[in-house]
């Protein structure tokens, strides 16, 4: 993994967040408090704005810096959760290196584990974890099997989409929608949606780089 890729991935994430303003706002108005898009937009623009600073860093240092920045700019629940993800991913990359897909998958899994610990949530509670956990599991599995990058990215995009859709019929037991009980059924979780969008954007970026 190269720091230059992290920067282009951040730009791709910002683009997809901005392009989905209406979707994210509508989802959060339905079962949340309407601030998810604003917070994600603020987080993404802060990261893109620091690209010059990131460019000179190693990938793990860049991811750690991204985590620290998100922690101090997003707020809400998304801030600490996403910050925990990037900081833990950075830590594992620093310790184990980043020269293979499997090492990157393991670092990604460590990041997801950090979200689980910070949010004290698990799969099936109508949160971002309904996207991240299946994606993480699949990522590690495919990387262990030495699958090629194209197959991994295509699969992860699909798994993220399925995970996001799965939140529609769940009762929320964590997060802001938890007070709604059964009224949350029928609505996709906004955090799951933004995670799906980010995974899709990063995977497409990888595919684009591959085809070059």
């Amino acid at each position: 993994m190269k720091t230059a890729f992290i920067i282009t991935a951040a730009q791709a994430i910002q683009q997809t967040i901005l392009a989905n303003e209406n979707t994210l706002e509508a989802l959060d108005r339905e079962i949340g408090d309407g601030d998810h898009f604003i917070n994600m937009k603020r987080g993404a623009s802060n990261i893109v704005d620091m690209q010059a600073e990131l460019a000179g860093l190693s990938p793990d240092a860049a991811l750690n810096k991204i985590g620290m920045k998100l922690l101090s700019t997003i707020g809400g629940a998304s801030g600490p959760l996403l910050a925990s993800f990037f900081m833990s991913m950075a830590k594992v990359l620093k310790e184990n290196g980043d020269e293979s897909t499997l090492k990157i998958a393991a670092a990604f899994a460590a990041g997801v584990q950090a979200i689980i610990q910070r949010g004290k949530a698990s799969v099936g509670e109508k949160t971002m974890l309904d996207v991240l956990v299946p994606v993480s599991n699949q990522f590690v599995l495919l990387a262990t099997q030495n699958c090629d990058t194209k197959l991994i990215c295509a699969t992860l995009i699909k798994v993220a989409e399925e995970g996001m859709q799965s939140t529609k019929n769940l009762i929320a037991t964590k997060g802001r929608a938890a007070g709604l009980g059964e009224r949350a059924i029928g609505h996709i979780d906004p955090g799951a949606k933004s995670c799906q969008l980010m995974i899709e954007a990063v995977c497409k970026q990888v595919l684009e780089n591959e085809s070059r």
């Binding site: 408090d33 809400g76 600490p80 910070r118």
Partner: protein, 333 residues
């Protein structure tokens, strides 16, 4: 949306600057990261720090001053503050007896304060407020939300801290007040988050939202609008049922009754609600001996109100009655 705004991104900074200038005898404001402290740093006491998303004014900055908070950390509208704010505030007000965070039980607030606490180089502990009894089924939730009862917790803990009490004693009183407090809110209209530009939820003129949270997040039930007495009746019943379910007797119990406006309901209506609530609680054998009516924990421009009942004892009553000098609560000094 029709609001007094210059630029949406500047609302928070401009409002905080106005607050700090208007109350410069009481508070001072630091920006980047944003936090407010008492004008004169208190010595030899536990430092009480609260914070949360903006839009609930006067919570929390309005309660900075003698007998209540030492500092407050305001986040963006309805978004919890970030750990760097809490760390900077703690650094500023720490006075050798530790830091007590008072945090409303919302996932974002809890996580941001938790991360701040993990990085804090001082002795510290946290009181989580969870007075909202509208969230009925705790099996399916992260627990009850912290709402207007937070003001009572901040007042009592703040009072105790002025006596030089230990961090553990302050924490114990905060937990006790929280346990003995129950609230429920009702919304008649939505609120509008400035950056979103449109109402958070749709509600018709003939509907109300029972059990609404202080961010306009939906409650448990959408109901038909009806006369005030009938609405208050259901709120009072919900509060009494909550205490009963937790084995806390309200019979012949001296209580504090707080009727809190959400921002767009006139005081005239709040006193009308208080009148009914006071009568209904009294009919159930509750002795209302302390009262507070007004906009103390708001939800931007939402029309609606919450009712909070706190079961008093000698200790809580003494700390409620003690002198306080803040922008939003002031008596006895």
């Amino acid at each position: 949306m029709k609001k007094f705004i210059n630029k949406t991104d500047d609302i928070l900074k401009e409002s905080l600057t106005g607050f700090a200038t208007a109350h410069q005898d009481l508070v001072q404001l630091k920006l980047e990261p944003h936090f407010l402290t008492r004008k004169n740093k208190a010595q030899n006491k536990v430092a009480i720090i609260s914070g949360g998303g903006s839009g609930h004014e006067p919570l929390h900055a309005g309660y900075i001053g003698y007998g209540m908070l030492d500092a407050a950390c305001p986040g963006h509208v309805f978004t919890s503050p970030t750990p760097d704010q809490m760390l900077a505030a703690a650094e500023s007000v720490h006075a050798d007896k530790g830091i007590l965070f008072i945090v409303k039980n919302y996932a974002g607030d809890v996580m941001n304060f938790e991360m701040a606490a993990e990085m804090l180089p001082f002795e510290h502990t946290t009181v989580l407020t969870s007075d909202d009894c509208a969230v009925i089924n705790s099996t399916y939730t992260t627990g009850r939300r912290g709402v207007a009862g937070t003001v009572i917790v901040e007042k009592c803990v703040g009072s105790l801290a002025e006596t030089g009490a230990s961090l553990q004693a302050c924490k114990a009183l905060g937990d006790k007040v929280n346990t003995r407090t129950a609230s429920i809110g009702v919304a008649l209209t939505s609120c509008t988050v400035p950056a979103a530009g449109r109402p958070t939820f749709d509600i018709s003129d003939s509907e109300l939202e029972m059990g609404v949270g202080i961010h306009g997040e939906p409650g448990r039930r959408r109901e038909q609008m009806r006369e005030a007495d009938a609405i208050v009746h259901d709120m009072v019943e919900a509060i009494l049922a909550d205490f009963k379910a937790r084995n806390l007797s309200t019979q012949n119990q001296e209580c504090l009754l707080l009727v809190n406006g959400f921002g767009a309901t006139p005081l005239m209506e709040l006193y009308l609600l208080y009148n009914t609530a006071n009568q209904l609680f009294s009919q159930h054998g509750v002795l209302i001996t302390r009262s507070l009516v007004g906009n103390y924990t708001t939800a931007l421009d939402m029309a609606g109100a919450s009712i909070t009942l706190c079961l008093l004892d000698d200790e809580i009553t003494a700390h409620w009655d003690s002198p306080v000098h803040t922008a939003a609560l002031r008596w006895g000094k």
